[in-house]
């Protein structure tokens, strides 16, 4: 690039940034002068990031309850195989003749449970909610860079949820090929009934979902880069924002690849192409497909699928960092190391996808490369875990429900992460691949951990979202029952996995070999049912507190980040008058030489006060 065009480029960047800032400032005038909003623009097609965050949260929780309810249904079948249950007859209708669950619907339930929990709850519900709520509020911006795109992103998510729910009601049942929907099983309606219309709806729903999450991610990245308030340098960003920012980048890198996988699969299914299919004989007929490879699909799927795990867990870790520091009344230990490990995890996460494919028929040499990169991820993860533990050391821990969930997140992140060393090792993977060991591992490390992150976020920022507090005692009960049951479900599950029980088996009593695992399955299901019941406590607390919770103070947790400097009441633009300027990092808790044990980011340094060289 010669100098002239370089100049032009930088001028262009400056102008563009100015435009963004101006449009943000324009919001400021909006709220002061003409504040007429109709019901539709305020609650439905809102462009205010706080309202969009609430929309994401409530949609995500709704989907979450469907997903969890599904898991309880198939857990009943697994503990008491082929026994009739009245609830099956009520909920599954023709799919449960005489109350006995049909094997096809069992597979549908596990498939849709996985899809809903991974994408709709832990991607959109978690990252969508808190990125939207916190990015503008914590960096000191009036709103997202583009409120319109943000609104479109939510409504695309809504459409995708609707399509996924609609797929539950089609004649031949919803998608049932596992949440990874590997072809040829997912491509051929002859292979299973769920691969008909249900699968088409699944693919369309996911395509819309990807569009939604890309729009959202682009918005987050642009907002963090361009709309930080004066003084908010990148090294003063709270770790929440770092996590959301990096998550958005991984999403932009990897989601388009899933879209291409979905499009190619749609082509194979509907237009007779052979991207993933070759040499198939099914239902007494040779199909015309020639030259494709299912392994190609696996590569494309996991190119998203693995980063997706970190798309799910990084925001949860970001929330945890913030909640732990606030409630420990201590700076997060090793801020720079935390940022570096987020970046390292993000980078590594995009080059480890092959560890899902060690025994897919992929060249074993490639397997060794992926073993190497995979086990490296344990290093930044370990650093994060140690830093959390050190943050607790000599703290003054305020054990609010959000704090308990954050501590428990670290606990499950460790327990679940450690078994990743077994699964990430290609050799050891041979015998535990696709068994319940995998199910136990990923549920602890990304399912339960991310859910805890979601709960921590909800308890912590509920006052910011709904201007009221949640009931702490119900929160404690919710936490303890959930924490005990989560281990109660997933710890014994490692054992049946190591015993060799394959996942996605409708029952393990079809042949005698696994009969001795039946009682472990009963234990798991009992814990799962109690854990499910505990979520009703949360639901009650959530809804009740929205309307009748105690009115909040402006900064109930005495936190440093900027969102607590904004007024309690919501209006488009977040702050009256000028946006606060930032003078310090977000973690000046219990700093010596100050009376209070917290110093919000907008308080200027005292004379002679040293800013931390973090």
């Amino acid at each position: 690039m010669d100098k002239k065009s370089a100049d032009f480029f930088s001028i262009y960047t400056i102008i563009y940034t100015d435009m963004l800032i101006e449009s943000a400032n324009a919001h400021e005038d909006d709220h002061e002068h003409h504040h007429k909003e109709t019901f539709i623009t305020k609650y439905v097609f809102s462009q205010d990031h706080k309202m969009i965050a609430k929309q994401y949260l409530i949609t995500g929780l709704f989907m979450g309850f469907i997903g969890i309810a599904m898991s309880l249904l198939f857990r009943l079948q697994l503990a008491w195989p082929e026994k009739p249950f009245a609830i099956f007859e009520v909920l599954l209708g023709k799919w449960a003749p005489d109350g006995v669950m049909d094997p096809n619907v069992y597979l549908s339930l596990v498939t849709i449970h996985g899809t809903i929990m991974v994408f709709f709850v832990l991607t959109a519900g978690l990252s969508g909610t808190f990125s939207n709520l916190l990015i503008p509020l914590q960096i000191g911006a009036r709103d997202m860079a583009s409120g319109l795109l943000n609104m479109i992103s939510y409504w695309l998510f809504f459409v995708s949820c609707t399509l996924m729910i609609a797929s539950l009601f089609v004649e031949a049942g919803p998608a049932a090929a596992g949440w990874t929907v590997y072809p040829p099983l997912s491509a051929l309606p002859q292979a299973m009934p769920g691969s008909g219309t249900g699968m088409t709806l699944w693919l369309v729903s996911m395509a819309v979902f990807i569009a939604s999450s890309l729009l959202a991610a682009l918005n987050y990245v642009v907002t963090v880069i361009n709309l930080r308030t004066k003084g908010m340098t990148m090294t003063r960003l709270p770790l929440t924002i770092w996590a959301f920012f990096v998550t958005a980048i991984i999403g932009i890198v990897s989601f388009p690849v899933l879209l291409s996988a979905a499009l190619l699969l749609i082509m194979d299914r509907s237009f007779g192409t052979s991207f993933f299919l070759s040499d198939i004989f099914i239902q007494g007929e040779v199909l015309h497909y020639q030259g494709g490879s299912p392994v190609l699909y696996e590569h494309l799927f996991w190119f998203l699928g693995h980063p997706e795990v970190y798309i799910v867990i990084l925001p949860a870790l970001g929330i945890t960092s913030e909640v732990i520091a606030t409630n420990a009344r201590k700076p997060i230990f090793g801020y720079r190391a935390m940022v570096a490990s987020i970046l390292a995890i993000a980078f590594l996460s995009t080059i480890v996808w092959g560890h899902h494919m060690f025994i897919s028929g992929m060249n074993p040499f490639l397997g060794s490369v992926f073993t190497f990169t995979t086990l490296l991820i344990a290093i930044p993860s370990a650093v994060k875990a140690f830093n959390y533990i050190t943050t607790l050391w000599k703290g003054n821990l305020q054990l609010n429900p959000a704090m308990l969930f954050s501590i428990a997140l670290v606990s499950t992140f460790i327990s679940g992460g450690l078994t990743g060393i077994i699964l990430g090792d290609s050799t050891l993977d041979i015998n535990v691949h696709d068994t319940y060991f995998v199910v136990a591992h990923f549920h602890l490390v990304m399912g339960i951990s991310a859910l805890y992150g979601l709960f921590a976020g909800v308890y912590h920022w509920f006052p910011k979202m709904f201007m009221r507090m949640m009931n702490k005692n119900l929160g404690y009960i919710h936490f303890w029952v959930t924490a005990v049951c989560a281990y109660g479900v997933f710890f014994p599950m490692h054992f049946i996995g190591m015993a060799g029980l394959p996942r996605r088996y409708y029952t393990n009593t079809n042949f005698p070999y696994f009969d001795d695992l039946a009682n472990i399955n009963v234990v798991i299901t009992v814990f799962a049912l109690i854990a499910g019941a505990a979520q009703i406590v949360f639901l009650y607390n959530f809804i009740h507190s929205i309307f009748y919770g105690k009115k909040t103070e402006q900064n109930p947790w005495k936190s440093n980040t900027l969102e607590w400097t904004a007024p309690i009441e919501h209006f488009h633009g977040n702050w009256h008058g000028e946006i606060p300027h930032v003078h310090r990092w977000a973690y000046d808790y219990s700093k010596p030489g100050h009376d209070e044990d917290y110093i919000p980011q907008n308080i200027p340094l005292k004379e002679g006060e040293e800013e931390l060289q973090h």
């Binding site: 040499d279 030259g291 299912p294 074993p364 703290g395 015998n431």
Partner: protein, 354 residues
């Protein structure tokens, strides 16, 4: 009956939660709570955190005591012990780290529970500590990676050789077939497009024009000679399947359109395995369970379950459709003489299609 029990359980849980909330509310000061944890909450929750640490340990010990016997069935292939060693080394590392980190996490949560009179220690960075816990995991992982890759190369790189027996595992919804190369130990070419030849008697789609295929033998029960290297060639005719043989620490996906490979040497015959003490106790345990289940069945006027006898199994371990959970094949490992005798009694492809 179970529904009734579950309902009662759920009701009890709900009632107890309700009661506990009441107690908690009554025990707190009369003024309206701010819903932010106060010193009393910190006291109680801190202690509960310590109790939770004990819960994790007890759950771990209980699980190992009660269910430890189901972990990793006895290995019966020559690379099995290698695999098991790597597993137990990794497992001990994991176990150690888990025990120690959980202890710190929960103990600190208990020890430093909040108190109005205290102030936290302002401590934000320590390069030496950071370096220590970056370097130590790096070293430990480097060792595990090298050890793992060494074993991986040992297991996975299959060398074609004269002495090895070549066996094809053929997967379809929802059963397995095995094909032996016959006298020449060479598998004939095959493709799904030949499946309908000979009125459907061409079970795995052998190309009848390939002379190597005529003496191939197709069976529904996998027989393997002990102490001989077996090279498996996997095929699938419809969707993905996975050939999983847990006792041999062996697994490989079967992919339509391509041939995948796995090789191992079985080291224990089925008969030897049946004499193994662990296997005997497993069989006894399963038969006790089946006896109880049979009594229930008989009470309902149905047939009793057959008693279980140990056999090696080949399972399908990749979701392949509604009856995925039924898809398996018996594996019989026997002496070379027994194997030769058995294979001589089987029909070859050319005999079968007559």
């Amino acid at each position: 009956m179970t529904i009734f029990l579950i309902l009662i359980l759920l009701i009890l849980v709900t009632v107890s939660i309700w009661q506990v909330t009441k107690i908690l509310e009554l025990s707190q000061s009369k003024e309206e709570s701010t819903q932010v944890a106060d010193d009393d909450d910190n006291q109680m929750q801190g202690k509960l955190m310590f109790a939770f640490l004990i819960f994790i340990y007890v759950l771990t010990l209980f699980s190992f005591w009660r269910w430890g016997d189901v972990l990793l069935p006895d290995a019966a292939s020559d690379h099995g012990p290698e695999y098991d060693n790597l597993m137990w080394v990794t497992f001990s590392v994991i176990f150690f780290v888990q025990t120690v980190t959980q202890a710190f996490l929960h103990y600190f949560s208990y020890k430093y529970r909040g108190n109005k009179s205290r102030k936290a220690f302002f401590y934000s960075d320590n390069d030496r500590l950071e370096a220590i816990w970056t370097i130590i995991p790096t070293i430990v992982l480097a060792v595990l990676i090298l050890y793992g890759l060494y074993t991986w190369n040992d297991i996975m790189f299959v060398e074609e050789n004269e002495d090895a027996l070549v066996v094809e595992l053929y997967a379809q919804q929802f059963n397995w077939k095995a094909r032996y190369g016959g006298k020449d130990n060479v598998l004939g070419d095959a493709n799904v497009r030949f499946l309908q030849d000979f009125d459907g008697k061409n079970l795995v789609g052998i190309d009848a024009t390939d002379p190597n295929g005529l003496d191939d033998i197709i069976v529904q029960e996998l027989h393997l000679p002990v102490d001989k290297e077996i090279i498996f060639k996997m095929r699938s005719q419809d969707v993905l399947h996975s050939a999983y043989m847990p006792h041999f620490r062996a697994q490989m996906n079967c992919v339509p359109g391509m041939i995948t490979e796995f090789a191992f040497t079985p080291t224990k015959t089925t008969e030897q395995m049946r004499m193994d003490t662990d296997v005997i106790s497993k069989v006894r345990k399963i038969n006790e369970i089946r006896k109880v289940n049979s009594e229930e069945l008989i009470a309902k006027g149905e047939e009793a379950l057959d008693p279980y006898i140990f056999d090696y199994v080949l399972l399908c371990n990749k979701i392949c459709g509604a009856s995925h959970y039924t898809m398996q094949m018996k594996i019989i490992v026997e002496t070379e003489q027994e194997f030769n005798k058995w294979i001589k009694s089987q029909l070859t492809f050319s005999q079968f299609i007559q």
